[in-house]
Each structure stands twice: as C-alpha cells, then as structure tokens.
C-alpha cells in the first residue's frame, strides 16, 4: 500500500514515461467525457494533475486511506447519479476514475501495466458508443500512443526520442495490421449475446419509439443518423411510406400501441394489386423489435413475423445491423380487423377534446358517407391557417383542441393525432402509423438512405368496403413534405444550388463509404463470414478448419516478417569508413597503396615519410577519421568528408 516513504528514492516511473501514460489516458477518455457525469471529468483530470505534481515535485504518494476515502466518495457520487442499477455509463465513469486513482497508487512496473491494460479496456468501451470510421481512426491514434507508452516503459535507458518511440510504435502497428485483418475475417465468429446487456445500452440511440405524445416538445431535433438503407426497386418518392409501429391507444396526450404486439395472425387479408417492389433493407440497430418495410408488405421476411396491424416484428430486439428482403405493393386492399381492434380504433379518452368532438359530430351530421367526412377534415387542415413547423408551440391542457383551434402549428405527429381523433369522434375507426417517409437517393452507392429526420406519422382509417386506407393529413398542409422530402418543407439552409450540389455529392460519397464500412466491417458476423468464406472457395468449413487455416496463415505471415527482419542485415559501412576508403583510393592513385593489414595511423606515418609534401593534410584527415570512427565523435564526419573531398 502506498504509505509514506521514509527515503526519498526516485518514484517509478520516470516523468517521461508517466507523461506517455497520461497522454494515453487523456486521449482515450476524451471521447467518453460527454457520456460521463458532469463532475467526473474534472475529478479525473485533477487526479492526473496530482500524480504529475507528485512525480515532478517529488512529493509522497497519498496514503491508502485517503485513496480509499476518495473511492468511497466516487462510489457515493455514482450511486446518487445513477441509482443502484449500474448501467454502461456508470460503469465506464467508474472505470475512468479507477484509472485516475490507480495512478496515485502506482509505484512499480506491475501497477503501471495494470493502468496500461485498463486504458486498452477504455478504448474498447468507446466502441460501445460509436464504431464509425472517424472513431476507428481516432482509436488507432490512441493505440499508437498507448503502444509508445509501453515502449517508453521498456526503454529502460531512455535512449529513444519521442519521435523514435512513435516510429517504433507505428512500425509495430503496421506490421500487426495484416495479421489483424486475417484474424478479423477468419476468426470463427459466434452470435451473441451470452449475457444480458446493461440496461442503458440503448441510450444515445435516436429513433422511433412505441409511444408518442403531443405538445410536449417545442423543438424537434433533426437527427442525421441513418435509420436504414434500401437497395432495390422502389416506387416514386411520394409513395415511399416506410411502415413502423402502429399506435392505437390514447389518453388525449399520449399515444401508444395498446395492443398485443405479439399477436401473430396467419391470415391477414391482404389483396395486392399492380406492381410489386422487391428490395433489401439494411437496418441500423435501434434496440426495438420492429422492422420497417414499404407500405404495404405482403409477407414478413424470414427474420420476422407480421402482426395483426401489419407491422413486421423481429424475433429479438435489433441490436446489430440487420439485412432483410421484403416484397411490397403500393396498391392493395387490406381489411383485417377484429372486434377488439374495431373497439380500440374508436377509443377516445372520456371527456377530452370537446371541441374536436363537436366539430366531428357536425361533419358526421352534414355528410352521409364516411369518405366525405375524411375529405372535410383534410379540407379543414388545408383551408384553415395551419402551419407545418418543427418548432411548434407547447400544448398545455388539451393538446388536440388547442392544436386544432388555437395554435395551429405543428409537425406530422400533431396532424396525424388530430386527424385520428377527429375520425374516431366521427365514428370512423382510425389508428396512427409511425415510420419514415421518403429518403435520399445515393447515386454513388445506388441506394436510398432513410434518416431519423425522415421520421413521419400518418393515419389509417377503416372503411367497411375498402379496408384500411392510408390518409396523410400532413399532405393537406405541406404537400411538399410528402413529395420532396423533409429538406424542402423547411427553410433552405444552403445559399446556392451549386453549393448544395457539391455538398450533396460529397455527402453521398461519404455515405457510400460508410455504407461499405457498415456492411463489410461492422456488419461482419457469422452469416457474413460464411458468405465470405464460400466466396474464397471454403464452403462448409467448420470452426476447427477455420482455426487451422488461421494458424497456418498467421504463422506464414510471422515467418515472412521474421525472414525480412532477421536476415537482410546487409553490411553498410559507416559513413566515416566509406570516406576513408575513398581517401585511400586517392592516395593509391599516387602510388601509395595501403597494405591490407595496415591501420590508419601506420599508413599515415608511412605516407608522410614517403611524401613530406602531403604530410599535413594526410595527418589531418587521419586524425579526423580516427576521431569519428573510433571515438564516436560523429560530428566530425562532415569535416572529414570535406577534407577528403578537397584532397587532390
């Protein structure tokens, strides 16, 4: 334990090695800081600074009880922040602070290595949040510094400069890279998870949720995060409704599915007509079960099943990128409805939305046919001063009535919810469908990208003779949103179309690279591995075969390195010797050959005796040569070169 030392002996490690370790820690913790509790990054930096002062000013290491108390305080702080259930963020914060505390206790090689290895762990925790290309590049940089830290520790004579350490570290990393790639692609992959993932492992992931509430936010953040990518045959943009969770139940403010999600029905009464669309979706993990498909899919892909409200649900929450194929029809008749569904589709909270109910009742009285009521409602949205905006006013008491009759500004959720309430009030079964609308086509990768900002909500009504019909009330307010996508419906942010084009092209290219990265690197799992191996001609190889192949390839690689590193030690004469040999040649031309066994000094003496006129320059050159070659005075090499050059 770190108690006070009676003798002021130099503290391990030396300052430069300590600085390397601290640089690694700071670099690795930097991207994690935004995930940590507000008080923890300053505390971490303070611990680092303390340790720096200890080594710099030769202070004593803090006593163990003090570290123990700090540790207890940290645990208490984490408990107060995160509660009793430690999730991912709490664990990482704890790990980071543990590193800081360990630094204050560190006084030998073993403890130094523990901190080093902890920092490797922290690198990997970064990947739990992001595995993008920039993150990967940044972490390579961290690896470079971490490896240089280990080199610094083992360079016991401290004879390597910072540059040399980084150089050696990058050599090691570059040599490791091919071996790593072989391991990455051939190491037998297994499907996880083995144990339960921490509770907050989906924080930081934006996406749809299975509930929506109206009027609580007055600022919708538009996330550029990709929801999924689609490749294949697609309908025109205004028909690209990507169907997601369906919401039935409402309390007047909040909407949720309120329906047995797991009820799988075999006969769903879908009667498609017209053209069909076959396409492949690569879905980003959203930690929920639903799989998106173009409205309306006729059959669930093998990875999922279709519910009674035409949602496709995966068997398990989507924790990793997932690819599936679907067939959809944009023209269809789907009229599956149960009694329970019928009741739910007319459910409204008791005593809420009086004005909306009154309006709907008025329409119902005036119109004989439900379709006419729908038309009246859409007309209402279109003709009244409704505004499509992402910064709506807050709705405090009765969101639907306030929106319909007072504020009249909102985005798709407001319109879908208000419309659905109006329909239910008019006695027409209706539900909200959430999902995405549109997407951007990437001509470079030839696929469609659907982002979180493309999230959308619309309504479906049930008519006895037509089944479920999609009605998008947003279309009545901002048709451009439906036809041209979200960017067009909002004020332009780019100054000129030219900029837009170049930026759009760059963005497309970047996304195409990202897509490749996602498909081939991040999405590389057991299935992809089988596909990859069968492309290599290794069909039906089991894990034992893979392991053998792996060992053979890696051994070959390492032997190759060994051959390259161990043998080509071509004897390059040191510069001083080269210059000396040139000098000997010059003298030989004058008839003064050097005997093979003659040392420089005896040679010079003999030459001086034979040619007293050359004695002065010859002695000078020999002196320089002896100095630079035998006394390691390398700075005289330049002088020697000059002297030999001017020697005639």
């Amino acid at each position: 334990m770190a108690t006070t030392q009676t003798q002021p002996q130099p503290l391990f490690p030396r300052l430069d090695t300590l600085l390397w370790l601290m640089a690694t820690l700071i670099l690795v913790v930097l991207p994690l800081m935004s995930r940590m509790v507000i008080w923890s990054p300053p505390l971490f930096l303070a611990l680092l600074l303390w340790r720096y002062q200890i080594t710099q000013k030769k202070w004593h290491l803090p006593p163990f009880w003090l570290l123990f108390i700090i540790m207890l305080v940290v645990l208490l702080g984490l408990f107060l922040t995160y509660g009793i259930r430690f999730g991912r963020d709490a664990s990482i914060t704890f790990l980071v602070l543990l590193c800081g505390l360990k630094l204050l206790e560190m006084k030998n090689r073993r403890e130094f290595l523990i901190v080093c290895f902890l920092s490797y762990f922290l690198i990997i925790t970064n990947f739990l949040y992001s595995q993008s290309i920039p993150t990967a590049l940044y972490m390579s940089l961290v690896m470079l510094v971490a490896t240089a830290t280990l080199i610094s520790l083992n360079d016991e004579k401290k004879s390597l400069s910072t540059r040399q350490r980084l150089r050696l570290s990058s050599i090691l990393l570059m040599q490791a890279l091919p071996v790593m790639l072989v391991l990455f692609f051939l190491f037998p992959r297994v499907a996880g998870p083995f144990w339960k993932l921490p509770i907050d492992s989906r924080t930081g992931i934006t996406g749809l949720s299975d509930r929506m509430s109206i009027g609580d936010v007055n600022q919708l953040t538009l996330s550029d995060e990709v929801a999924f990518r689609v490749k294949g045959k697609l309908p025109p943009p205004e028909l690209r409704y990507w169907r997601g969770p369906v919401l039935w139940w409402t309390n007047g403010r909040e909407w949720k599915s309120g329906f047995q999600q797991d009820q799988i029905v075999n006969q769903l009464n879908i009667h498609p007509s017209g053209e069909h669309f076959d396409y492949t979706i690569t879905l980003e993990p959203h930690y929920e079960q639903w799989l998106f498909a173009l409205d309306l899919p006729v059959q669930a892909p093998t990875e999922g099943a279709m519910t009674a409200d035409y949602q496709i649900l995966a068997k398990r929450p989507v924790r990793e990128r997932m690819r599936y194929q679907v067939r959809s029809y944009t023209h269809y008749r789907a009229d599956f409805i149960t009694k329970r569904q019928y009741r739910l589709a007319l459910q409204l909270p008791q005593g809420k939305h009086p004005r909306a109910r009154a309006l709907a009742a008025q329409w119902r009285q005036e119109e004989s046919h439900p379709e006419a009521v729908v038309k009246r409602a859409l007309q209402y949205f279109n003709e009244q001063a409704f505004v499509y905006t992402y910064t709506p006013d807050l709705l405090l008491n009765d969101p639907i009535d306030e929106f319909l009759f007072e504020t009249r500004n909102g985005f798709c959720e407001h319109y879908a919810a208000a419309f659905t309430v109006l329909m239910r009030a008019a006695g027409i079964p209706a539900r909200i469908v959430t999902g995405y609308l549109g997407g951007n086509f990437n001509p470079i990768g030839n696929y469609l990208i659907v982002r979180q900002r493309d999230a959308h909500a619309w309504s479906e009504i049930w008519l006895p003779d037509k089944g479920w019909i999609r009605i998008d009330p947003t279309n009545a307010v901002a048709p451009i949103r439906v036809e041209q996508g979200i960017e067009s419906a909002l004020p332009m942010t780019f100054n000129s179309p030219l900029d837009l084009n170049i930026l759009q092209q760059l963005a497309n290219r970047w996304d195409a690279i990202n897509n490749g990265w996602n498909q081939w690197i991040l999405g590389y799992g057991p299935a992809q591995q089988r596909e990859f191996l069968s492309r290599l001609g290794l069909k039906n190889i089991d894990w034992a075969g893979m392991t053998i192949a792996l060992i053979i390839i890696i051994t070959t690689l390492l032997l190759g390195y060994a051959a390259w590193m161990f043998f080509p030690q071509k004897l390059v004469r040191d510069p001083a010797q080269k210059i000396y040999l040139r000098f000997c040649q010059k003298l030989a031309r004058q008839g003064l050959h050097r005997h093979p066994s003659e040392g420089p000094i005896t040679y010079a003496t003999r030459v001086s005796a034979a040619r007293p006129d050359l004695a002065v320059p010859v002695q000078k050159i020999i002196e320089l040569y002896v100095q630079s070659r035998y006394r390691s005075q390398f700075e005289t090499v330049g002088e020697l070169r000059k002297a030999v050059l001017y020697f005639r």
Partner: protein, 314 residues
C-alpha cells in the same frame, strides 16, 4: 549465473573460447508476466466483443494480439546476432571480486535496447560495440571462470522475455588470500636485527637511491628525477632493502592447514615486496630464487594460487 571454481570443471567443456554470436537456436523466448496479463485482458475483451457483437471490439482485440505476436519477433531480434567477446581481466586475491570485461558488438543496422546483464542494462547503437564489466566474487584460490552468463531483454513492449546464455572460456587467477599472524622469517643473511615485524624495522623510512632494475615497482621510481632527464632511480625504503628472505614450506609447516599456509606465504610475499626485499619462494612444486619486482611477485603468487590443484585448472 556464474560458477565458482569448484563447479567449473563440469561445465567447462561447453565454454567457447572465441567470440560468441547469439544465433536463433541459442535464443529462448517466452511470454513475460505482462504478456500473460495481456493475454487475459485480450480474452476478456474478445468475450465482450462477442457479447456485444462489436466489430471494432473484435478489431481492437485482434490488433492487440497481432501486435503482441509481432513484438515477439522484435524482442527476439534485440538479441539476435550480437557478438560477445571476452576482454581483459586481472588476477585477484581470494575474497575479492574478479572483474571480467566483455565486449558486445552489434554489427546489425538496428540499435539494440535494454539488454540486461546481471545488474547492468545497456543499449548498443547500430554498428557499434560497447564493453561491460561483470564482477564475479571469489572465495577460494585457484582460477575463477566467468562461467555461464545470462543476458535478457523485454524490449520493445515487455510482453516477451527473450534470453540467451553466454559461456565464454575466460578466467583469471585467484591468489591465496593474504592472511596470517606470523612475522616475516628473516634469514641468516639478514643485516637487520633478528625477529620483529617488518614494520618495526622502520620500513617507511627513506634510505637512499639505487639504480633501476627491470621488474622494480614503478611506485618506487623517482619520477621527479626522470622528469628532469636523469637516470631512472629507485627510492629505497625500509630496512629490508638489502635483505634476502627465503619463504619456504618449512616456515609455514607448523600451520596444519594447507590453505592457511598458502595465505601466510601470500601475505609474506606482499610484505616483502612492499619492503623492497629480495625474496625467494620454495614450495614442494617449485622454487624461485630471491628477487623482487612485480613480475617476480606475480610468479610467486601464481605458484601459490595453483599449488596442488588439478592440472586442468592451470
């Protein structure tokens, strides 16, 4: 990793006289404790990556593992091709440490770092050679061998421990430890007063000058005179200058133990030499006529060192 002269004979035949070059077959390598620690960390990281299906986690674990494998080659190369040669070593008295000089020659184009020899850590730049001193404690007279030495390194990452053994055939004499309580036996020819220790005869007194003889101790040369260009003169001290002393077996025969007797003779030689006396040595194996000087002293001590020891040692 050194062997005392008692156990040398078994291992001696493996010793090599000339320069030893560290070849692949003579370099051993195993993971160090840190390397095993990293293996554990890697295993946990790999398990975590599998659990989270985290591709970059896999990539990082594999990169670390690959780097460890590559570092094994680098650690091996740090020792590979080093050429080790024995340098000079001086005789010592038993109980002292013999200092063996070794030259380590790096003829490669890559600098070698953090080579550990016993307690020394050295770096050798590319295409250079450096010398190190290895001290070997002695306890018995005879011959001390450098014995088998271990050199190891953990450079660059400390994950592997590469080592090699060097067994150079180099040795030096160990003279008997100069010990004893008896006074210098003064022969009949002695002009000094019979018994008594040499110190009592005023051995530190300056007596006069005499001509330099080959073999005289340089300590007694009158350097000031030499500097002035005069002849080399020897300053004579003490009263034994003209004395002739025979150090014979009979003088120590009352000491039952052979080693004690040899120690006593060893002490007498040193005393006689420092007094500038002419001393002769007569032991059963050989005899040296009275003389003085470093060479004579070394000859006598050598004879004592090797007295009654097996031939192969000498």
């Amino acid at each position: 990793m050194t062997t005392q002269n008692t156990t040398h004979s078994k291992k001696r035949h493996t010793a090599q006289p000339g320069p030893i070059v560290l070849k692949r077959r003579t370099i051993y390598i195993l993971p160090s404790k840190a390397g095993l620690g990293l293996a554990l960390v890697l295993f946990i990281m790999l398990l975590g990556s599998m659990n989270y299906n985290n591709s970059m986690g896999y990539a990082l674990s594999f990169l670390l593992g690959s780097m460890a494998m590559v570092s094994m080659l680098h650690t091996h190369r740090t020792l590979l091709g080093l050429r080790i040669e024995a340098g000079k070593v001086l005789p010592v008295f038993a109980g002292e440490s013999a200092t063996f000089q070794l030259w380590i020659d790096n003829r490669g184009q890559v600098a070698r770092h953090a080579l550990v020899w016993q307690h020394d850590t050295i770096d050798i730049p590319a295409d250079q050679r450096v010398s190190i001193d290895i001290s070997v404690p002695t306890s018995q007279r005879g011959r001390v061998f450098l014995g088998r030495l271990k050199v190891y390194t953990r450079f660059p990452l400390g994950l592997f421990h590469a080592w090699s053994y060097i067994h150079l055939d180099t040795s030096t004499l160990v003279y008997p430890q100069p010990l004893g309580h008896r006074n210098l036996p003064l022969g009949e020819q002695s002009q000094n007063t019979g018994e008594g220790s040499p110190h009592e005869t005023g051995g530190d007194d300056f007596i006069g000058y005499r001509d330099y003889n080959v073999g005289d101790s340089p300590r007694h040369i009158d350097w000031k005179a030499v500097a002035r260009g005069r002849n080399w003169m020897i300053k004579e001290f003490g009263g034994l200058s003209a004395a002739q002393v025979w150090l014979t077996w009979d003088d120590v025969s009352m000491l039952n133990n052979l080693e004690v007797a040899l120690s006593q003779l060893s002490l007498w030689i040193l005393v006689a030499e420092s007094q500038g006396a002419q001393y002769g040595l007569k032991i059963p194996t050989c005899s040296f006529e009275p003389n003085s000087g470093e060479q004579h002293r070394e000859l006598c001590l050598q004879a004592l060192a090797l007295y009654a020891l097996p031939k192969e040692i000498s």
